[in-house]
């Protein structure tokens, strides 16, 4: 589904990704962990097409297409969803209106009829249950005045509405209390259907107790330096990153 080869990317002329290789197959859940500044969020931004990030080398293929050639909206329409680390506020635009526009754009790109208000409302009500959203939230302006937890729930709700084939969760767990974390994780798990793939970027192992990954990767200095199963996450929780850093730095200096 997603193949990343030797990806190098920089922001404001500072190189962050240093030849990253990575593959995601349908239905897989990959967790990406790593110390601060290792390039986790850069990876999410590059995949979504944020323009401040310049790809200097490498390729990213998504379902046989060159993802890097696509505009952000075309990536979204092709099925790449990014749950933002910092969801953006759009005053005056209701969540429902925003989502209806988005859903119908995605449908249009697939040659499907636009949903009318009634159909849309019906689907929306179903999906709201997934993240325990109440109705009032759909009428509020996109993310405006939302608490941190509400914003993250809203991201998962949007994901449920847009039904992507690949969802990238960028530190969706940061700043959440345990209840909010459980709600968000339940939402994500409900969307795991064996076909949909996930890249879960996180700083904390505890999210992985709820969203159990197939693979865990450690990103350091813009590269994946270690991969394993969920046990690797537990090991990191216990021992921190220093042992990996030392290992890598030793190899680099050798």
């Amino acid at each position: 589904m997603l193949t990343i080869k030797d990806l190098k990317a920089s922001v404001e002329e500072k190189q962050i990704l240093n030849g990253l290789n990575f593959e995601v197959k349908p239905g897989e859940v990959h967790a990406i962990m790593g110390p601060n500044g290792s390039g986790k969020s850069t990876l999410a931004s590059v995949l979504a097409g944020r323009e401040e990030y310049e790809v200097t080398e490498g390729e990213v293929m998504f379902n046989g297409e060159d993802l890097l050639e696509m505009s952000p909206e075309d990536r979204a329409r092709a099925g790449v969803f990014l749950a933002f680390q910092y969801p953006v506020e759009i005053p005056g635009v209701s969540n429902a209106n925003f989502l209806k526009t988005a859903v119908n754009e995605v449908r249009k790109s697939k040659g499907l009829e636009a949903l009318d208000s009634k159909q849309f409302l019906k689907i929306m009500q179903e999906k709201m249950k997934l993240v325990e959203m109440d109705k009032a939230m759909t009428q509020r302006s996109v993310n405006e005045g939302f608490s941190g937890g509400e914003k993250k729930r809203n991201e998962i709700f949007q994901m449920a509405m847009l039904e992507p084939s690949l969802a990238i969760l960028d530190e969706t767990d940061s700043g959440l209390d345990i209840d909010a974390l459980r709600i968000v994780a339940n939402g994500v798990n409900a969307l795991r259907d064996g076909q949909r793939s996930f890249i879960v970027i996180t700083h904390y192992q505890r999210l992985l107790d709820y969203i159990v990954p197939d693979f865990v990767h450690v990103l350091y200095k813009g590269r994946i330096v270690k991969s394993g199963t969920k046990d690797l996450a537990l090991e990191l929780e216990e021992k921190g990153y220093d042992w990996i850093k030392e290992e890598v730095d030793a190899t680099l200096n050798a």
Binding site: E73, A76, P87, V88, G92, T101, E105, Q158
Partner: protein, 481 residues
């Protein structure tokens, strides 16, 4: 400039959708302005002597005045002798029903998307249509008359209700008020008149559509709305003009009188031809709109969505004379390409416990300039007066300008006046967020701008709000550069 925004630049500027010319014959006055023209207009309309006298006084006063130079707009000097001051569609006679309407005029309204037929079917909007200078049709008159509501063309009201016209004409905007008000008082050709008797709530929206059609003409309509004690009316105004290379002058006057506990809500969607991308042609819209809250708890509310005109000079105002009276101003002003707008409001607090609210949203794109100019004046007598103003500007390119000129004059210590203003651009992070959900940059800008204007759109009657949103989208095409 980001790639996202470049996409928008590539979007071709859509043509002005309302820029067709209708081919019905007009009955024109000769070009130019002198006392004879004033007499000609008055005679054409078979006016009583007192009204001719009023016009002549106004004309003589106008001759002593000079055009205002203080607005933050720049335009070639208007040659007032090169304008036709009276132009009526020739086939126009008293019409008894819509079926008698000239098919061309009817087609015009169809093109405007305001089919009178449909309006009639909807049965909740009464329409008075003014083409060039004369009112061509007022619908629902009879239905309204049953409640004692008078809704007619200004000319008819002069003949049928001279006592009301005599009493109120120029009572809110005297001809001495300003250059364009004086000009209008001298040469106004028609307009709408509306009278809501005591305690009556007007059961439908009243609406006037204005259209300038003939070349070389100016339009000088005059609207007078009177709400007696405890009355209520919601009044809508829409305007369009054909695309022409020359500038055309529109100098209207609107006067509103709101008596004790009466409420008048006046909504405008202004879409005069703005000129082409290079600033050629377009309407000069120099309008004086003012209402007076005469009694206890009177209320006047102005809502405007301004997307048209090459030059806009307009300050719908409220004089809050009655104690506890309320004035409101909600405005969205969009300028694109070479348009210039200097618009805002004046809230003059005289009565005790009076309050006013000003919400202004300016959006500038292209090489346009958009200025908010507003006065909040708290007189010494206005104990406990309250004002809240919020004036936001949104910039959609680096070639345009946004300006805010509020004047806050407070002479009463118990008053509370608050003003806030911000200027910002559409956030790239907002656009990216929309992109990431599959929404194109163009649609994202539309969505964000509509959200930004929501507080004002919410004040418009439903059908108007939809129209306003569409207008906004069209006006903004190609605006982000």
């Amino acid at each position: 400039m980001s790639d996202d925004l470049k996409i928008l630049e590539d979007v071709a500027n859509s043509e002005y959708k309302w820029g067709f010319v209708s081919n019905f014959e007009s009955d024109n006055a000769p070009k130019g302005l002198n006392e004879d023209i004033v007499r000609f207009i008055s005679a054409k309309k078979n006016e009583p002597e007192w009204l001719l006298e009023y016009r002549l006084k106004a004309f003589r006063h106008w001759q002593t005045m000079t055009e205002p130079a203080w607005p933050n707009v720049d335009y070639p000097k208007v040659d007032f002798q090169d304008i036709i001051y009276y132009s009526a569609p020739k086939s126009k006679v008293q019409l008894d029903s819509l079926d008698d309407l000239d098919p061309e005029i009817k087609a015009t309204f169809d093109k405007l998307g305001i089919s009178l037929e449909e309006q009639k079917r909807l049965a909740n909007v009464a329409v008075d249509a003014v083409i060039d200078s004369v009112s061509v049709k007022t619908t629902f008159r009879e239905a309204l008359l049953e409640k004692g509501i008078i809704f007619s063309s200004f000319s008819e009201a002069v003949h049928e209700h001279p006592e009301l016209i005599k009493k109120y004409l120029g009572s809110v905007v005297p001809y001495t008020d300003n250059f364009y008000a004086a000009l209008n008082a001298a040469v106004f050709s028609d307009g709408s008149f509306c009278y809501i008797p005591k305690g009556v709530r007007c059961p439908m929206e009243l609406s006037t559509y204005f259209r300038i059609n003939s070349a070389g003409t100016g339009q000088f309509e005059r609207t007078l709305i009177i709400a007696e004690e405890g009355a209520y009316v919601s009044y809508l105004e829409g305007c369009t003009a054909p695309m022409r290379d020359e500038n055309q002058l529109h100098a209207a006057v609107v006067e509103i009188v709101s008596h004790a506990e009466a409420q008048v809500k006046y909504s405008t969607v202004q879409n005069w031809y703005p000129g082409d991308k290079n600033g050629k042609g377009g309407i000069f819209n120099f309008v004086t709109k003012r209402g007076i809250c005469l009694g206890y708890k009177s209320k006047i509310s102005w809502t405007q969505v301004e997307t048209g005109s090459a030059i806009t000079w307009k300050y719908p105002s409220v004089i809050l004379k009655g104690d506890n009276s309320v004035g409101e101003f909600y405005s969205v002003a969009v300028t694109n390409n070479m348009q210039q707008a200097d618009t805002g409001t004046k809230m003059i607090h005289i009565g005790k416990n009076t309050s006013s609210t000003i919400i202004s949203k300016g959006i500038s794109g292209g090489r346009s300039h958009n200025s908010y100019r507003g006065l909040v004046k708290i007189n010494k007598s206005a104990d406990n007066a309250r004002n809240f103003s919020q004036c936001d500007s949104l910039l959609l390119g680096d070639q345009c300008g946004a300006h805010t000129f509020p004047y806050l004059e407070v002479s009463n210590k118990s008053a509370k006046v608050e003003h806030e203003a911000t200027t910002s651009k559409v956030g790239e992070d907002q656009i990216f967020y929309c992109n990431q959900r599959g929404i194109s940059t163009e649609d994202a800008v539309g969505l964000i701008v509509n959200g930004y204007c929501k507080e004002v759109f919410n004040k418009l009657p439903m059908e108007f709000a939809v129209e306003a949103q569409k207008l906004l989208a069209i006006s903004l095409e190609g605006s982000v550069g």
